[in-house]
Subunit: 226 residues, 2 copies
C-alpha cells in the first residue's frame, strides 16, 4: 500500500472508531435506563447500584471520544461532511453522557423509594422508559444509516413521552392530595418521570443532530420558534 493510501485508510479507521464509540456509549446508557427502572419496579436496589457503577464507564467513554475527535481535527483537518460528522459527534457524546447521568438519578430515587412501602403499581413509568430506549435505539440507527426519516420519527415520539410524563404527574398529584403521608414518595416518583422526560429530550437532540449532519441544515429550535 502506498503512503497516501495508508494514511487515508488510517483516517477512515479513526472515523469508524468515533462511530463505534458513540454506538457503544448509546447502548450502554440504554441498558442503564432499563436497569434503573427495573430497580424501581422490581424493588431491587442492587440493580440501582450497578447503574451508578456503569456510569463511570460512560464518563470515561465521553472523555475518550472527545479526545479522539480533537485528534482527528488536529491531524487530519477534515472538511465538508467529515468535519460535520466529527464536530456533531462531539455534541452527541454530551447528550448521550447526560442520558447516563439521568439513569443514575433514577437509580438513586429507586433506592430511596425501595426503602418505603410501594406507592402504586407502575404502569406509565416503564412505558416511558421503553419509549425512551426505543427512541435512543432509532437515533443510533438513524445516525449509522444517515436516515433522516427515522430521525424525524424519533422527534415525533417525544410528544408521547411528554404526554405520559404529564399523566404520571397528575396521577401522583391526586394520590398526594388524598394521602398527605405519601408526599415524599410521590415527589420521588414524579422526579423519576421527569428524569425520563429529560432523557427523551436529550434523545430528541441526538435525532436533530443526525438530521443536521445529513442535510447540513439546522432543525434545532424550529418547533420552538412557532
Amino acid at each position: 500500500m502506498d503512503q497516501k493510501r495508508r494514511i487515508s485508510s488510517e483516517y477512515e479507521q479513526e472515523l469508524l472508531q468515533v462511530r463505534r464509540k458513540l454506538v457503544v456509549m448509546a447502548e450502554r446508557v440504554q441498558k442503564m435506563t432499563l436497569k434503573a427502572v427495573r430497580a424501581l419496579v422490581e424493588r431491587e436496589s442492587e440493580l440501582a447500584a450497578e447503574v451508578i457503577l456503569d456510569d463511570r464507564e460512560v464518563n470515561r467513554e465521553e472523555v475518550e471520544t472527545d479526545e479522539l475527535c480533537m485528534l482527528i481535527l488536529a491531524r487530519r483537518q477534515p472538511v465538508a461532511s467529515d468535519l460535520r460528522f466529527v464536530t456533531i459527534a462531539m455534541k452527541m457524546v454530551t447528550d448521550v453522557e447526560r442520558v447516563g447521568d439521568l439513569a443514575v438519578n433514577i437509580a438513586e430515587r429507586a433506592i430511596s423509594l425501595n426503602g418505603a412501602p410501594p406507592l402504586r403499581p407502575f404502569v406509565d413509568i416503564p412505558r416511558m422508559a421503553d419509549l425512551t430506549v426505543e427512541m435512543l435505539n432509532k437515533s443510533v440507527t438513524a445516525f449509522l444509516e444517515q436516515d433522516t426519516v427515522l430521525a424525524e420519527q424519533v422527534i415525533a415520539m417525544d410528544d408521547q413521552v411528554d404526554e405520559l410524563y404529564h399523566k404520571v404527574f397528575r396521577d401522583v398529584l391526586e394520590i398526594m392530595h388524598q394521602q398527605p403521608e405519601t408526599v415524599r414518595r410521590g415527589i420521588d416518583l414524579q422526579s423519576v418521570a421527569k428524569f425520563l422526560e429529560r432523557m427523551a429530550d436529550h434523545v430528541t437532540n441526538l435525532a436533530e443532530l443526525v438530521i443536521y449532519m445529513v442535510r447540513g441544515k439546522d432543525v434545532r429550535h424550529i418547533g420552538k420558534r412557532d
Copy 2:
C-alpha cells in the same frame, strides 16, 4: 498588508467573533434568569412573557455560533490551542443555550404560580438565582481571561446552590405535608428550585470546559469518579 497577514487578521477576527457571541449569549441568559425569578417574586407575569420571547434570540445565537465555528474549522483548519478553543466553544454554546431553556421553564412556572395565592415569602430561590448568575458571570470572565483559578471557584460554588436547593425542597415539603391544598403550588416551587440547580450544573460544565481549554486537561467527571 500582504496577503498572508490579511488572511491571518481575518482569522483572528473570526475567533474574536466566536468569543463575542458566547459572551453576548451568556449575558442574555443571565438577564433572563434574573427576570424569570423577578417575575415570580414580584408576581409580574409580563416579565415571564419577556423571558419566553428572549429565548428566541438565544436559540438564534446558538445556531449562528455553531455555524461560525464550523466555518472556521473548514476554512482555517486551526490546530493546537485554537482548535481546542473552537471545539470547546461549540460545546459551551450548548450549555449556555440550555440555561436559557431553564430560564423559560422558570418563567412558565412563575406564570402558573402567579395565578394562585402566594405560598411563602421567597428567600432562598432569589439567593439561588443570584448565586447562579454570579457563577455564570465568573465563568465568562474565566473564559475571557483564561483564568482557571476563577473557573475552580465556580465549580466550588455549585455546592452552595445544591445546598439551597435541598433546603427549598425540604421547606416546601414540610408545608405540603401540613397543608395538602398547597401541593400543586409546592411542586411548582420545587421545580423552580430544581431548574436553578440544573442551571448551576450547566454553568459548572462551562467552568470545567474553560479549565480543559486552558490546561488541555479534562477535569470533567473527576468529582464523579470518587
